[in-house]
Amino acid sequence: MSVLQMRGIRKSFGELEVLKDISLSVEEGEVVAIIGPSGSGKSTLLRCATLLETVDGGSITYLDHAVAWEEEDGAAVYAPAKELREVRQVFGLVFQNFNLFPHFSVLRNVTDAPMRVQKRPAAEVEQEALTLLKKMGLEGREKAYPFQLSGGQQQRVAIARALAMNPRLLFFDEPTSALDPELTGEVLRVIRRLAEEKMTMVIVTHEMGFARQVADRVIFMDKGVIVEQGGPEIIDHPVHARTRAFLNKLEGEEA
């Protein structure tokens, strides 16, 4: 059973068609990297998948939960709110700019949702959070507040916060784009380790070297469509001219 299945997703902002018939499914244990030029709709796709935006058409299914489906007239309808609340437990999202809760300590950022939303026992949640933070290389920073941490540390707290909910699938939207270059490594290392542990992940990224290393599948998006997808080798041997153009341009910038 796929963890996520999106079919024929369409989304417009006013006149602007941002997603045009996108289909994507993610299998258990798979790491999918989404690459593509700015404005191609990568974030919008993630926001639709994480229910931060509603789609105009198409269907979304998580495991055996139908989240959105198409009516006869082609418009998408969503499952009732109660069902959506359950579905939100299936996935987690790590934002580009972390979005930690600034008034909570590091530990509380990680424990609050498992305790208050999932209503799990405090002692157990706390124990798990401490283990997670340690794994993220944040031992000893539990009592700090987000503003006292570097960007890289904040992003690692955000990853711990998402993992503490025990999601089946974790989304990342350019997790290192807001970081100074010398801090990206520590975040990528953490994600790489999650990939080794077979965490199911969908990662939007501009880091081609990283995508090549961790991804089982790479998806190239442009102007609201999936132009090309395949194994990580498509980064080095793109078939489609638009993919080639994008990768060449990126290389040009990096060189």
Binding site: T50, L51, L52, R85, R88, Q89, F91, G92, L93, F95, N97, N99, L100, F101, P102, H103, D112, A113, R116, V117, Q118, Y145, P146, F147, R161, M165
Partner: protein, 216 residues
Amino acid sequence: MTFRTMVEMLLGGMGKSILIYVLTLVGALPLGLLVAFGRMSRVRPLQLFVKFYISIMRGTPLMLQLLVVFFGPYYLFRANTGTGYRFVAVIIGFVLNYAAYFAEIYRGGINAIPAGQREAAQVLGYSRSRTFMTIILPQVIRHILPAVTNEMITLVKDTSLAFAISYSEMFTLAKKIAASQTTMMPFVIAGVFYYIFNFVVAFIMERCEKKLSYYR
């Protein structure tokens, strides 16, 4: 009249000023939040109505509003309001007026919280009400505290407007004593009392701000 009796009478008036002050805050701080919700409502008629209410409250003198609340029931409905109504009218007038000012402060504070906070909470599965109470509101309070402090200091001085409907708080008494005894003294004493009152308010609020400044 001795200096001492003067001070004692004014202290009694000050008690009433403080009562107005506290009741106004107790009423207007929560009501202001409701008004802010109305102002931000997607229900257009409600939003427009609240917008109109706020503009009236901020666009006309508080003294005039007090007169309307106090005399309105009689002139409009020939209603007999009874003796206790003078005080009630003062509180109603102040609460309605200050709720409008607080509402605009809340609204600014709520809009200043980045959308990402709400989104992060939503993805984690927080309900809308829990998101507001535990994620948004604490940050809003921290953010708006200086503006609220400003209003609270203005309110200390505004309590004297109750003299417009002859409610016997400190300023009304000071005026009365000054007229009957032909002396400036009551005004000086009242001034000192208002100043001390404000000093205490400012001190308490500064403490609150310090307490909430543990994060950035």
